[in-house]
Structures are given as C-alpha cells and as structure tokens.
C-alpha cells in the first residue's frame, strides 16, 4: 500500500491541475500586482518604473479622494459590526430557544444572502427612488413629507442609504454562523446552568456567549474584511457617487484601472486592500485572544 501511496507520477498527475490554476490565476497575479504598483503604466505603452510614486500620490492627492474611500469602507465595517453582529446574535440565541418553526425562520432569514447583489441593488434603488419609491411613499403617508428626498442621489444621505441594504443582506449570514455555533454547545451545559437557577438571559450571557467566542471571532472577521473589500452592492447602487460620497477602495480601484487606465495606481489600491484586510484580521485575532 505504501508503494501505491507514494507513486510519484500519480502525485504529479493529481496535483498538477490544481497547482497550475492556482499559480496562473492567484499567485502570479499577486506578484504582478506588486510589480505594476511600482510602475507608471496605461496598459498600452511600455511601463515606466515609478518607485513609490503611486503610493505617495494615492495618500497625498486631494483629487483622487482615496482617504474618503477608506473612511467610507471603515464606516461600513464599523456599522456592519456593531449592528449586524448584535442583532444576529440575539436572534440566533432566540432561535436556539424555540422549537417550532425554527428551520422555517432560519430559511427565511438566509434568503437575502443567496440573492445576487445586482438584484438586491436594483430593488433597493427602486425602494429609494425619489419620485415613486416605497420609502418616500411611506414617509408621505405618515405625514413626514419634508423628510422625502432622493436618498441615493444626495451627498448627505447616500452613505446611509447604501448601508441599509448592505446590513440587511448579510445579517442572515451571521445569524446562521452564530446559530451553528450555539447549536454545538452541549445541551448538558445549558441544563446545568438552568438547574443552578440561571435565567435565559444569564445562561446566554455567562454560558453560551463565552463558549461560542471562536465563532463570534469568525463572524467579526467576516463582517470587517467583507466590508473593506465591498464592491458589488455599491457598484450597482451608486458606483461611488454622488461626488465620491459612497466611494470605497474597490470602486475607486475599478475606476482607476478600467476607466482611467491607470494600471499602476489601481494596483497600488489593490495592495492596500489586501494588506488592510490582513491587518484587521490580525488585530481582531489579537483582541479576541487578549480577552480570554
């Protein structure tokens, strides 16, 4: 058997396709992005070495509005974490306490996660529509006409209007992740807490939540890095507008690369996004470790 298991030719045969795909479409591109980010290149003429110029311009230029885009993505990360996770956790806890209809509720909560961002975006654009949207209609029926506005079109409200569908779409995802964690807590532990006289809330607070900390960490990392990378919904809803009000690094990157042909600058943004995600994952890991 050992001879069969160490058949070199077979190993190469089994590994080759996966390694090739991985190298060509993931590993080499990372190297290429690093290389491009040091170049001044429009994709047509020869690339010229620019050193760190793309990076310095990115961080210092006022016209690119990179700082604004980073701020927006951090804002999305912040609100995703402080709204999505607590709500998801509470509902996951409640779900674990009820028997009837549990799966039905879970199934319903999870639907938005599966729907394409384009459909969700197009739908919410219509909810927000200034003339015929549901939101303004509801405001008018309860007499708050003066609150009606072009939600996605005005700089002051666009960011808030974009945040709602983002949070709405992914709350079910976190709920499911957390719920699966709660389900893994042994029934005996919960019973023991009950026998000791703990109320439902106390059991959740002192028994369940400490036990599912690793899952909460996963959810936090997902909420934060997902927000830092966010592209689809914003691209559909506003494409970063009006006047950069909802710009995030990903939309700025696509704009740099494929509208303005600034390949070097776009690649610098890519590297920033990757490093930022790593950094935040690392910080979250550390925070959760220290709390133990």
């Amino acid at each position: 058997m050992d001879k069969v298991r160490s058949n070199k030719k077979a190993i190469v045969f089994f590994m080759a396709p996966a390694v090739l795909f991985f190298m060509i479409f993931i590993i080499i591109p990372i190297g290429m992005s690093v290389y491009y980010s040091f170049m001044n290149w429009d994709g047509i003429t020869r690339p010229i070495f620019a050193g760190l110029k793309n990076y310095t311009e990115l961080f210092s230029s006022i016209t690119i509005r990179f700082g604004k885009s980073v701020k927006n993505s951090l804002l999305i990360a912040f609100f995703s974490t402080v709204i999505q996770l607590p709500v998801a956790l509470v509902f996951a806890l409640v779900l674990s306490r009820v028997r009837r209809g549990r799966n039905t509720f879970l199934t319903i909560y999870f639907i938005p996660v599966l729907i394409s961002s384009v459909a969700i975006g197009q739908l919410w654009m219509r909810i927000y529509n200034s003339d015929y949207g549901v939101l303004n209609y509801l405001l008018k029926t309860i007499g708050l006409d003066n609150l009606c506005r072009n939600w996605l079109g005005e700089q002051s409200t666009a960011m808030g209007a974009v945040l709602v569908p983002i949070i709405w779409q992914f709350i079910g995802y976190h709920m499911l992740i957390l719920y699966s964690g709660i389900k893994a807590v042994p029934e005996t532990v919960i019973e023991a807490a009950k026998i000791d006289g703990a109320t439902g809330v106390q059991t959740a607070r002192f028994v369940i939540i400490p036990m599912i900390k690793p899952i909460i960490k996963v959810s936090t990392i997902f909420a934060v890095t997902g927000s830092l990378k966010i592209f689809d919904l914003i691209y559909v809803l506003t494409n970063g507008g009006p006047a950069h009000a909802t710009e995030v690094p990903s939309t700025l990157m696509i704009n740099m690369l494929f509208s303005r042909n600034r390949y070097g600058m776009g690649s610098a943004i890519v590297l920033f996004i990757i490093l930022e995600c790593f950094l935040f994952s690392f910080i979250i890991e550390k925070v959760f470790k220290e709390r133990d």
Partner: protein, 274 residues
Amino acid sequence: MDKVKKTFLYVALSIWAIIQVFPLYYLITFSLKSNGEILGENILGLPIKWLWSNYRKVLNESNLLRYLGNSVFVTVITILCVIIISLMAAYALYRMKWRFQGFFIMFFMLGLTVPIHSSVLPVFVILKKIRLLDTYWALILPYIAFSLSMAILMCSGFLKGVPVELEEAACMDGCGVYKIFWRIIVPIMKPAFTTVAIFTYLSSWNELMFSTIFINSDKFRTLPVGIQMLSSSLITDWGVVGAALVLSLIPTMILYICLSQKVQEGMVMGAVKG
C-alpha cells in the same frame, strides 16, 4: 418558559422575518403591475390586475434567456472542473505520502484569504495576451481557480471519514492508485460533490466584478451583468425590470427550496473553516 415570553419571542422572530422578506414581496408584486399601479395608484398592495405580460415582454424582447443560458453554461462547467480538480488534489494532499504535502496544504489554504480584487488586472492582462478575453473561458478559468481552496478544504473533510481499509483491500486485490481513485474514492465521495457544487454555484453564479470586466459582448454576458444592463436600459418600465429580476432569482430559489439544509451547511462550513 411561560406563555407570554414565548409569544413575545415568536412575535419578534416574525417581525424580523417580515423585514427580511418585505423587499422581495415588493419586487414580486411590482413585477406583476403596470406602471400606473407601481407609481402611485397601488404601491404596496397585491396587483389589482395581474400583468403577466411583463414576463412575456421581458422573455420576448430582451436577451434574458441568453444571459441565463450563459450563466448556466459557465457555472456548470466551473462546478464540474472544480469537483474533479479539487478531489484529485485533496486525495494527493491528504491520502498519499510525499515530501511537500504540508507546504502545498498551506499553499492552497492561503487562497482562502486572497480577495478576487488582486487578480482583476493581472488576469485581465493574461487573458488578453492569450486571446481569451470576452469568451466563456475568461470567466470559467478564474472561477475555477478561486473556488479551489474551499473545495479542497471541503473534500479533505469528507476524505477523513473514508476508512483507509477500503483502499487497502483494493490494493490487495491488485488495484493501482488510479483505479483506487476512480473505483473507490470518487463513488464514495459523492456527498462531498453536492456540498462543493453548492458552494461553487453560489460564488460563481452571482459574481459581478470579473463578469463586468472580462466580458464585453452581449453574446457571452452572464445574468448579473445582463440584468444590470437590462435594468438601466428599461429604466422607466419598472414592471418589466421587476419581471427580469424575479426570473433571474428563480434558479437560486429552486436550488434553495430543494436543498436548503445543504445550502446552509455549505455556507457555514465555508465561513467557519475559512
């Protein structure tokens, strides 16, 4: 638990369910209404006159079916390739014996953390060079690559549950490694295929960034970009756009209704292990 408390919990759960479903209710109802109803007479209620012609119109007058076909083609080929390639790699990585196994396992798990953003431009440049830009392959090939890490991880989970004795018995009977793989591993791993297929389906079916940039001609356009185009060209005809959006959601919804447990499992597994 006392009754009052329980009722309260159910009310809370139901209110949340309504919040989650309301936008979809709105979508489905306005896909069946005339502009007159949508834009004033009857914004929130069920359609007064059920306008199935919206659906007929979008099916007859737009390329929606073409986009749907493209999406099905791209996704099916991607899923098939991912299943074969990831199972082969997982077998070599977790069942065979060689020197750099640990390194390659790490190598593939690294892929879980790489966002697709990092590949947009380089893959664009590569595809342009090998003249695959604006073909089905421009989507299929990168989708395969980006699904592999998770698929290998999922396969490895299932592989661990396969008893080694099965392979040993086959080996005694004189089977070589390829025969063991095809005759024993592939059939026994069928449950893993469903999980891998669902996960790959969800990540490629809705993918927007690559499909926006690598595809230019309408001929090859997939659903997400297709309905995006459709919605902006039919901007005034809400009912018809609604019908297009509803139709684009049907495949995923059918899948979800049939396999909701498996879909949820797959997504959680992806999150927790990643």
